[in-house]
Symmetry: C2
Subunit: 135 residues, 2 copies
């Protein structure tokens, strides 16, 4: 626990490819045509297919579970505001930053945001995670 | 919009199978052994492999995007508390219920909970969704 400090952060980039978005649709059953049908999405308010919000959230979850705090993290809460859509093919960066550490209870409060290359914030949020150390 | 009313709800059941949890790990890159390694999970505080919180959340997302309000829903917010782990192989029920409708802005506030067969609440939360009607 002593290796962690408030303000510590990790960033991870990911491009959401078409095949992955299709696979996410199949796996979750969320087959909204906005995510998977190019022709349909072209005529929508978005103009092109967009990534499922929960798939973008999966990137946050990965960073928490694999890097900060890392393996052994158990999700207690995740709050998210979806500010702008991530388009299929977009490269985004998930940033997880420690806001608070409750040493006794081993609970971390984290800022969890997803940005575009130009600094646009797509998803803003916070998480609470229980972390009892390396597995 | 007139077909919707406060208190309206939809429930959807799902069993999270081992293969799906493996597929979710691969797709998101969240390869925490608690989710995918039986031997490891057996010796953990959980005693068996558990489903990614964000995969369980995907079921909520599916119900919103496909059923209530349905296709054309755009996620604005999703807040979740993960109260208990869902084990791989567990059958759960996601319930989405309309708490409030802002007619002018076309914004729905939804209760989004996930229950076990015995009524245990695994995930409790709320969502805000913009819905402009059938796609």
């Amino acid at each position: 626990m002593d290796d962690f400090y408030i303000g510590q952060e990790v960033s991870v980039e990911k491009t959401f490819g078409k095949d992955e978005v299709l696979a996410f649709s199949e796996l979750t059953g969320d087959c909204n045509p906005l995510h998977i049908d190019d022709g349909f999405a072209k005529n929508s308010r978005f103009g092109a297919t967009i990534v499922h919000g929960m798939f973008v959230a999966g990137l946050i979850s990965k960073v928490i579970g694999m890097q900060l705090p890392g393996e052994g993290s158990i999700y207690l809460e995740q709050n998210m505001r979806f500010l702008k859509p991530v388009y299929v093919g977009d490269c985004v960066t998930a940033k997880v930053k420690i806001k608070d550490i409750m040493q006794e209870k081993k609970i971390f409060t984290l800022e969890t945001n997803v940005y575009g290359n130009d600094g646009t914030c797509f998803v803003s949020g916070t998480a609470k995670v229980l972390y009892e150390g390396e597995l």
